[in-house]
Each structure stands twice: as structure tokens, then as C-alpha cells.
């Protein structure tokens, strides 16, 4: 999940020659828990889809793959910025770290904006959550994911503010890494959601 994690961690992992697990044990409780919850939701979607393949395909045809793909790109890019930001903060770089987190946040806000454009376009064509089970899943799953993006954006805003000064305690580094891991999870969930909703044929 952490691109470039191994080289970024070299200097801070002196305590553990076996390599460094980003964040702390607790955040993995949250992340694996979230991923198993979402897996249950994805399974439920596929199950419903098997009952009405044609209807789900017709619903899928109404979605804009372009917006979906741009959003995927935005989240992937933001994950890269966040990984760079965590690395910069670990090296005590109080200029580069907040800049990277702010760029990551900008990508996240772009995602939210595009999602709004997408929803508005569907509403304008008279499509709502009640139109078809496909759209119940589409709106339900993407809204739930959007909630995660909002929370993650709040965390990135917090990191942008906090890394303007050097982090003082080991627990601050752990929290920063945990927030970064959460953002990567939000990214990863979208990477599963995008093909599931937009591409599966």
C-alpha cells in the first residue's frame, strides 16, 4: 500500500532491522476491519448483479467512465503525494512535507468536486437512487466511499498544518503514518470500486 515506503523508512527504522510497519498495530485493526466491511458490500453487489445482469449493465452504461478514470488518477496521484509528504516529514523537512500534503489534499478535493459533477449529471437525467438496484448500489457505495474521502481530506488538512513544524514525539510520527495509511486505504477501496461499478462487463 505504501509506494516508496521502504526507502523512506530507512532512517527511522533503525530500531527494527526487520523493517518498519507504517503506523501502529491499532490502525491496521481499523484498515483490515474497513476492508472486510467493504468486501462484504462488494460481494453483496456482485450477488445482486448476478440476478439482473442486463439491468446492471444498462445502469453501468449511464455512468461516465471518463470521470471515473480521472478520479482514479486523482486518488493515485494524491497517494503518491501523501507518501512523499510522510517521507519528507520523517526527514524533518518542514517546507516540503506540508506542500506534499496540501497537494494530496488538492487531489482529494478534486475527487469530491468531480463526484459532485457526476451526481449532478445523473440527477439532471432523472436518475435517482430509486431508479434501479444498480443505482441504489452505485449511490450507496460511492456515497459511503465519499464519506471516507471527506474524513481523509480532513486528516490531510490536519497533516498540512501539523508538519509546518518538526514533529516532537514518536507518537506524532505514528499518528502521521496512520493517517497516511488511512488515505492509501481510501485510494485502494476506490481502485476496487471503479472497475466494479464502471467497468465490469
Amino acid at each position: 500500500m505504501r509506494r516508496g515506503g521502504s526507502d523512506l523508512m530507512q532512517d527511522s527504522s533503525a530500531v527494527s532491522p526487520r523493517g518498519h510497519i507504517p503506523g501502529e498495530a491499532g490502525v491496521w485493526l481499523l484498515i483490515f476491519g474497513e476492508m472486510s466491511f467493504f468486501t462484504a458490500l462488494f460481494a453483496s453487489f456482485l450477488h445482486a448483479r448476478n440476478g439482473d445482469v442486463a439491468g446492471f449493465a444498462a445502469g453501468q452504461a449511464q455512468l461516465s467512465r471518463t470521470i471515473g478514470a480521472v478520479n482514479t488518477l486523482l486518488l493515485l496521484t494524491s497517494s503518491l503525494f501523501v507518501a512523499k509528504g510522510v517521507g519528507a516529514a520523517q526527514q524533518g523537512d518542514t517546507i516540503r512535507a506540508p506542500r506534499m500534503f496540501a497537494l494530496g489534499l488538492a487531489c482529494g478535493l478534486g475527487f469530491i468536486l468531480l463526484k459532485g459533477v457526476e451526481y449532478a449529471g445523473l440527477f439532471a437525467r432523472g436518475i435517482a437512487v430509486t431508479s434501479h438496484p444498480f443505482f441504489a448500489y452505485y449511490f450507496g457505495l460511492t456515497a459511503l466511499h465519499l464519506g471516507h474521502v471527506l474524513i481523509g481530506s480532513g486528516l490531510l488538512a490536519g497533516l498540512t498544518a501539523a508538519t509546518r513544524r518538526p514533529l516532537a514525539k514518536p507518537s506524532h510520527f505514528a499518528l502521521m503514518e496512520s493517517a497516511g495509511c488511512f488515505w492509501h486505504m481510501v485510494d485502494l477501496l476506490w481502485i476496487v470500486l471503479f472497475p466494479l461499478l464502471y467497468l465490469v462487463a
Partner: protein, 238 residues
């Protein structure tokens, strides 16, 4: 005679046990007597809704009585959580106040639905559509209000990540902070039930009901356990 901040440890332990007993009694009434587990489908026709309340009317109403007695179980728990948070805060313990107030007010959404269920069961011979209104009112009040719960959790998360005391004696170890954060993130599925009558987003579906309920059960057990452990440690240190 100990007059310090640890003088109330015995009462705090009692409160935690009250909260455990209350939650168990509520669960018993709700599951065994009201038979709401698993929940009735959100798209049930009115005559079948009315039948839910008229079929075993007396048993159901006894269940409501027990639920009304037990429904305040979150209040003593919130108080102990707040007292423990206040120990760890500097100056005016505003996070503890936020947690205690939101916990107390939020607990209304546990016992108020029981009153609406009581109304639904009170006159079983009335027109089914009228019963169905209170049935929907009760269920939506029980599943969807998310006005206060996240704010209650925020303070716990904050304390878990900023406290100075070691995790193994604390009521708020860091892992509990993450568990609470997960609970906060997942709780947003509840209000979606307002939009759906069938499927995983309806009030008997995976997202508003099954996932938050199992997570709430795990969270509740976890915080009762860490509170009792912390109280044991504080008494030993006294």
C-alpha cells in the same frame, strides 16, 4: 479517608456494571420478547406490520417495559468515560463534557423508539396503516439518527491519541482510539436507511444495521473492559 480524585472508583465500577447489565437486559427484551432480531424488512406491507404487534401482543409489551427500564444504559457508561477522560485532560475538561453530554442525550435514541413501539402495540385492533406509521417512526429513530454519536466518539479518539499515561493501564489505549475511529467512520451507513426500503442500505440491511450493530457490540465490550481494567489499576495505585 481518601478524598482524592480516586475516591469514586467503587462507584465508577458499579456504573460500568450497570451499563453492562442494562445493555444485556435491553438486548434480551429486544431479541427474545420483541423478536426484532433480525429486524422486520423495511418494505413490509402494513397488514403484516400490524400482525407483528398483534400476534404476541402481551409478550411484546412486556418486552417494551423491560426495554424502557434498561434503555438508559448508555448514561452511566458515558459518565464513567467522562470522569476517566477528565483525569487525563488539562484545565477545563471540555472533551469529557462533550462526550458526557452527547452520550446522555444520544441515549434518548435508544429508549424513545421503545415508546413508539409501545404505541404501535398499544391498540392492536386499530387500522394497520396507523400502526405502520409508528413502526416506521420507531425504526427510523432507532437506526438513523447520527446527530450526536460521532461527537461522543471524537473525544475518546482525541484522548486515546494525546494522553500521557501508558496504554497498558489506560482506559483509552491507542488501539481503542483506532477501534473508536473505525466505529466513527462506519457509523455513516445508518442515515442511508432513510433512502432505501430494500437491499443492503435499508434499515434491516447490511450497512445501516448488521455492520454498525456488530461493531457497536465489539466497541461496547472493549470500552467496558478497558474502563474496568483502568479502574483496577487506579485502585491498586491508590
Amino acid at each position: 479517608m481518601n478524598q482524592g480524585p480516586n475516591a469514586s472508583i467503587g462507584t465508577q465500577r458499579l456504573f460500568v456494571w450497570l451499563a453492562i447489565a442494562g445493555a444485556l437486559l435491553f438486548a434480551f427484551a429486544w431479541i427474545a420478547l420483541m423478536r426484532f432480531f433480525p429486524p422486520p424488512p423495511a418494505d413490509l406491507p402494513a397488514d403484516q406490520v400490524a400482525a407483528l404487534y398483534s400476534a404476541h401482543n402481551v409478550r411484546f409489551r412486556i418486552g417494551v417495559i423491560l426495554a424502557l427500564i434498561a434503555g438508559g444504559f448508555l448514561v452511566p457508561l458515558s459518565i464513567v468515560i467522562s470522569v476517566q477522560m477528565a483525569r487525563l485532560e488539562r484545565g477545563i475538561p471540555i472533551w469529557a463534557i462533550l462526550q458526557g453530554l452527547t452520550g446522555a442525550i444520544g441515549s434518548a435514541f435508544i429508549w424513545l423508539p421503545a415508546v413508539a413501539w409501545a404505541v404501535a402495540a398499544f391498540t392492536p385492533e386499530r387500522a394497520p396503516e396507523l400502526t405502520a406509521i409508528f413502526h416506521e417512526f420507531a425504526w427510523l429513530m432507532f437506526i438513523t439518527p447520527l446527530s450526536l454519536f460521532p461527537m461522543q466518539l471524537l473525544g475518546i479518539i482525541y484522548i486515546a491519541f494525546t494522553k500521557e499515561e501508558p496504554d497498558n493501564v489506560s482506559a483509552f489505549p491507542r488501539w481503542l482510539g483506532y477501534l473508536t475511529a473505525w466505529q466513527l467512520v462506519q457509523s455513516f451507513g445508518g442515515p442511508m436507511a432513510v433512502l432505501f426500503k430494500t437491499g443492503i442500505f435499508s434499515w434491516n440491511g447490511l450497512l445501516p444495521f448488521w455492520l454498525p450493530l456488530s461493531l457497536f457490540g465489539a466497541w461496547y465490550a472493549a470500552i467496558c473492559w478497558t474502563l474496568l481494567r483502568a479502574l483496577r489499576c487506579q485502585r491498586a495505585a491508590d
